[in-house]
Amino acid sequence: MLHVELVLQGLVNGSMYAVVAIGLTLIYGLLRILHVAHAGLYTLGAYITVLTTNATGSLALGILAAMLVVGLCGMLVYRLLYEPMLERPPYVALIASIGLFICMEESYRIVFGPYGSSFDMPRLGERIALGPISIAAADAAMLVGAIVLLTGLAMLMRRTRFGVAWRATVTDPAMARSFGIDTIKVRYVNFFIASVFAAAAGSLVAVLNNLVEPTMGSVPSYKSLAIIVLGGLGQVGGTLAAALLLGVIEAYGTIYAGAYLDRDAIAFIFLIVVLMIRPQGLFARGS
């Protein structure tokens, strides 16, 4: 029974990592930018969800508003910060992104206060029984939400013109252009979609914990860097697998290795080991 619960808890956390990291991987795949500030957008999404829901009484409206606003903010970040840096060495954008993320966290603390906010409505407290296993309703919502989001993304990448354009641009931008794909537009749409995902992840976690805090992005931000490296950088499937796996490993690690190592450090042990063995990430394509 312990194992079932550990795995389940791991999957819940892992699915949260996945929805954050998937956006990062989309951005990395297209532009080789390690977009740490992504987690700042995730926090923003969470705040907008809570504030809008409390103001209007509609969670759906809250989530929608978060997705829209955060998506636009993502494009703005690309336009103002990253686009002028594309020709510089890749660590330039990374460091700038860390700076931006710190600014965002501090701004949330200043604007929304350090103690966090909650929904006015009660938390999803009850548990759902599935045969012998019982799962908290909030956890179930997280899992289901993540599955819905990721399935949506898979459809988007497979079935839509954007998906085709995205993949073509990643594989060979010059070729994509010669086929009439507007690669500049692909980049903006890419940032929009990735940021929408960040917002959705923020909404989900807000519901899961019934709490949003200025620092809620700290752990996902740096950890999702580790996840996208483990997942093979720009590989959507690999990122998913790495996120879920990490969630489960962490759940076990807390029990079995908690005496030696902080849970949040586990991801980085893997990161370092993997980069030493495969400097371009675990499942990376040849350069």
Partner: protein
């Protein structure tokens, strides 16, 4: 000078030492490190244990430096495998693993840290003079390296590793040297910090500290000696001079990083150079 001013001098000194060490690695040799606080912390913990065991101050300072340099050598080896943004996140990972490890070690005091650190016995003024002496020594070492052929080689490695190799420069050895020297300085800074606060906890060596040090190097102008020193002094003192700035210290650091990377990639040093060039041109 009152006690407050003495404290400020000590804090500024420690930050300048840290910035000088990182400047050697990231500025001179071009190896981006986002985990400098881990070396600071390694030196601090080693120094705390040694000091508590009764070793004299000079031994403790050297031991702090050497212990950090050993970890620096190990991390330096990673820089032979991974580059640029990957090296950045590897070193960031080292920082997180360091804190995550120390938090759980009973012999290092875990979350509660180490407290039983003896007095340095130099008196307030003596301690400050030691701090200033160390800063001067480290600045002199940095200046020498920059002028020497080692610094010339570092510049080549930072610019283009592959081409540096075709000119006979042993790139891996140069990178390791940069890591060892730079992290040694961080370890000494850690030992000084231990005597200064006489109390250390894991949280004092976290990612925020690494980023603060990095912002000093970046804002000063990566690789510029005086620029980095000026930036380290300013960024440490600004928050002290005003409560408002202190409350928004991280916001300031973050914003400065963003603005420097975006608009002035060569930092203060770059701004001053281009200003003076413009002045000279308008004179003639």
């Amino acid at each position: 000078m009152g006690a407050y001013e003495l404290t400020l001098v000590a804090v500024v000194s420690i930050n300048v030492m840290l910035a000088l060490g990182l400047n050697l690695i990231t500025g001179f040799c071009g190896q981006v490190s986002l985990g400098h606080a881990a070396f600071f912390g390694t030196g601090a913990y080693a120094a705390a244990l040694m000091a508590a065991a009764g070793w004299p101050l000079p031994v403790v300072l050297v031991a702090g430096g050497v212990t950090a340099a050993v970890l620096g050598l190990l991390v330096g080896f990673t820089s032979l495998r991974v580059r640029e943004d990957f090296l950045a996140i590897t070193t960031m990972g080292v920082g997180f693993v360091f804190v995550g490890f120390v938090r759980k070690q009973g012999w290092l005091g875990a979350e509660m840290g180490l407290t039983n650190i003896p007095d340095h016995g130099l008196g307030d003024i003596g301690f400050i003079l030691m701090c200033l002496g160390l800063v001067a020594a480290m600045a002199a070492i940095s200046a020498h390296i920059k002028r020497s052929w080692l610094g010339f080689g570092f510049a080549a490695v930072a610019d283009d590793e592959a081409t540096a190799r075709t000119l006979g420069i042993n790139v891996p050895l140069y990178k390791l040297a940069a890591f060892v020297i730079g992290t040694f300085l961080a370890g000494v800074a850690g030992a000084v910090y231990v005597y200064f606060t006489r109390f250390i906890i894991p949280g004092a060596f976290g990612f925020t500290v690494s980023i603060s040090i990095l912002s000093m190097v970046i804002v000063g102008g990566v690789g510029s000696l005086w620029g980095v020193i000026v930036a380290a002094v300013l960024l440490t003192l600004l928050p002290e001079f005003s409560r408002v700035i202190n409350d928004y210290k991280l916001l300031l650091y973050g914003a400065l990083i963003v603005l420097t990377m975006r608009f002035a990639p060569d930092g203060l040093a770059g701004i001053v150079t281009s200003l003076s060039r413009r002045l000279r041109r308008s004179e003639t």
